[in-house]
């Protein structure tokens, strides 16, 4: 059976994009802009159907479908995902607990053929998720202090006035030499992000294609990551998004991982 690489992902695709309150026109530093992006409201819990489409350079496509549940439980955010397709990963489930503190995430995977719940290491940020163009790090939560942020300029993109902020990791071993994000000035939601490799060459471009307001929360429902060096891409769409539906805390347990949907 193919082994899954799993990541704590996709709470409305929280990677460096989000929603902040309306702000008056004023000068912000790069750090303040990113802080507003990170400090957005995502609701108490969320349910969604996720489809990930991997397209190679020949245009051939592979599709992965996932049902996911997340819940903010104060100092820990719990997440459980059930893999629906392709066939060889069907009924596989993944659970992660992400802490507000510096503690590493706890992650488990349930493999239905082996009937076993295994603890897996969270130390795999540069791995790609299910063969896609998104790494664990691209999809996970990143802390404000992990990078040094610098406002480069203001620019209009697709008719939206944006701040352009460069972020350089404080960790020399980080997989990207830098990232650049275009942040919509009107609502502090990311519009585009570029990732540069260790040689400072452009590696990937993330484009946000659709943002919807659901139950008062802005949710990115369609995005695309393109690897410009290898000419392949991955799109992620969210459907049937429910916010604050009152998911029980018992949903995030080994019992549910093994039972499935």
């Amino acid at each position: 059976m193919r082994k899954l690489k799993i990541t704590p992902i996709l709470l409305a695709m929280s990677f460096a994009f989000g929603f902040g309150t309306e702000v008056s026109a004023q000068d912000f530093t790069g750090k303040q802009i990113i802080e507003k992006v990170y400090n957005r409201s995502v609701g108490e819990d969320q349910t969604s159907d996720l489809a990930m489409t991997l397209t190679n350079r020949n245009g051939d496509q592979r599709i992965r479908k996932i049902k996911q549940f997340t819940k903010d439980m104060g100092d820990v955010e719990k997440r459980i995902m059930f893999f629906l397709s392709p066939a060889d990963v069907k009924n596989t489930s993944f659970m992660s607990w992400t802490y507000d503190s510096d503690k590493s995430d706890d992650q488990w995977i349930y493999l239905p053929a082996l009937k076993k719940t295994k603890r897996i290491s969270s130390d795999s940020k540069s791995d790609y998720f299910m063969g896609s163009d998104f790494t664990y790090d691209d999809l996970g939560d990143r802390k404000l202090e992990d990078d040094t942020h610098k406002l480069l300029r203001e620019e209009t993109i697709d008719g939206k006035e944006c701040y352009v902020v460069e972020s350089v990791s404080n960790d020399e071993d980080y997989m990207y030499s830098k990232t650049m994000v275009w942040v919509n000035k009107s609502n502090f939601i990311g519009v585009k992000k570029e990732f540069f490799d260790e040689d400072e060459d452009l590696l990937k471009i993330l484009t946000i294609k659709e943002v919807k307001e659901i139950s008062g929360i802005w949710v990115i429902t369609n995005s695309e990551m393109k690897n410009v060096q290898k000419n392949h891409k991955t799109s992620i769409t969210l459907k049937n998004v429910q916010i604050n539906s009152g998911i029980s805390a018992s949903k995030f347990s080994e019992r549910m991982m093994t039972r499935g949907l």
Binding site: L54, R62, S85, D88, K115, S121, D123, D127, E254, R259
Partner: protein, 412 residues
């Protein structure tokens, strides 16, 4: 064969019912061909259909998992891995029927994982999800927060499935005289008295996952009761034959396992203590050439990554306590396992090597393989099973069975 036909009919009938009720169907079809290095003979020609039929609701669910194996195009083997009903309640679940139960944190090693016995007709070569047999059982799980208390009752004992005597995977045995086997006492009649019970307490926590278990069971492997036949005609006794009566014996065992993450490395451990296990001895005054000893089986393992390569390694020790020098088994047996895995081309090409390394006998089973996913359904696997080392070792005894093999698999 009649029973298998009946099962097949029942499954077909069930499938009609489940189709009508929109049950989920999934599974795979697989072609598996192996050729031995030494002789060029086919070590295996196998086609498999695995059908997984399930239907889940909020309060009840069922699953049927028949597997049909065709060998050499002229023999069929239908195995019913699972056929059970789940009942869900607020704080507990009940599963009744044929089921596989997997315990412990070890990979490829069976220490506390003793509820479902093994099918060793192809040694340890089948995928680990196929090597266990289903058992008829009632399983009760009671949930308290993130911990679970589990009780399993097995009304009918199921032994390890051994390879046939003429199989290339039959176990190597040296006998001092010609043996004759009497299997009449090897069966355990299903009864309340002969049933097996297992209990387990397990928890997933932010710091550590652990399991504590105990069992009142039968030894899955039969004990060989040996009656030595002597010829006294020459004045001094001369061993002329062995009457061997395989019998299963009761066992008590307790143990546990854990896994935790330390600086990005997953540390795992597992141990089981067996009380009153029977071993063979050369002590002339021992009844049936047997001796009863306690036995400890444990493991420590690490899972980690270096760059993009995943590694996993385990050290396993089996120890006979209060050892008697006349025993045939070694007092201590040490084994290691090693796994390395690398995925390429957006996880369509997978390179793996897994090895059992017998430290005590200096033998090994090395299993390199390469898998390519043509698409999300179809994959091809090329691999090799290489047995090396001392021919008296667990792995070295199959030195002549080293093979190259190919698997074509279609998932649906």
């Amino acid at each position: 064969m009649k029973i298998k036909g009946l099962i097949l009919l029942l499954l077909l009938a069930a499938s009609q019912i489940t189709i009508a009720q929109n049950a989920d169907f999934s599974g795979f079809a697989r072609s598996y061909t192996g050729v031995m290095y030494d002789t060029g003979d086919f070590s295996i020609l196998q086609n498999t259909l695995n059908l997984d039929i399930s239907k889940s609701g909020n309060k009840v669910a069922f699953k049927a998992n028949p597997m049909l194996y065709s060998y050499n195009a002229d023999s069929l083997d239908l195995r019913l891995r699972e056929l059970y009903l789940d009942l869900y309640f607020k704080n507990f679940d009940l599963r009744i029927g044929q089921q596989q139960v997997i315990w412990g944190k070890a990979d490829g090693v069976f220490i506390t994982d003793v509820v479902s016995p093994l099918n060793l007709t192809e040694f340890l070569l089948p995928d680990f999800d196929e090597i266990r047999t289903g058992v008829l059982a009632a399983k009760f799980d009671y949930y308290i927060g993130n911990s679970t208390f589990e009780v399993i009752w097995l009304p009918k004992f199921t032994p390890t499935v051994m390879p046939a005597a003429n199989s290339i995977w039959s176990f190597h045995r040296d006998f001092m005289a010609p043996p004759s086997f009497d299997w009449s006492k090897s069966a355990i009649n299903p009864s309340l008295e002969n049933s097996e019970v297992f209990v387990k307490y397990s928890a997933l926590t932010s710091k550590i996952d652990f399991e504590l278990m105990g069992g009142y069971t039968w030894d899955d492997n039969p004990t060989m009761h040996v009656d030595k036949q002597f010829d006294m005609s020459s004045g001094s006794p001369m061993l002329t034959g062995l009457n061997i009566t395989p019998q299963h014996h009761r066992l008590y065992l307790g143990g546990g396992s854990f896994s935790t993450e330390i600086f990005g490395v997953v540390l795992r451990g597992e141990a089981a203590y067996y009380n009153g296990k029977h071993f063979q001895t050369q002590d002339p005054i021992a009844v049936d050439a047997l001796i009863e000893k306690d036995y400890l089986h444990y493991l420590v393992g690490l899972d980690f990554s270096i760059k993009d390569v995943k590694f996993s390694t385990q050290f396993i020790q089996e120890t006979i306590l209060d050892y008697d020098e006349k025993m045939i088994n070694d007092e201590i047996q040490n084994t290691m396992t090693f796994l390395a895995r690398y995925d390429m081309f957006r996880e369509t090409l997978h390179l793996d090597v897994f090895a059992y390394i017998g430290l005590s006998n200096e033998d090994a089973l090395i299993r390199p393989k390469i898998t390519y996913d043509f698409d999300d359904s179809f994959s091809i696997l090329l691999g090799s099973n290489i047995f090396v080392g001392d021919e008296k070792g667990r792995f070295g005894q199959y030195k002549d069975n080293s093979m190259i093999y190919m698997k074509l698999k279609y998932n649906f």
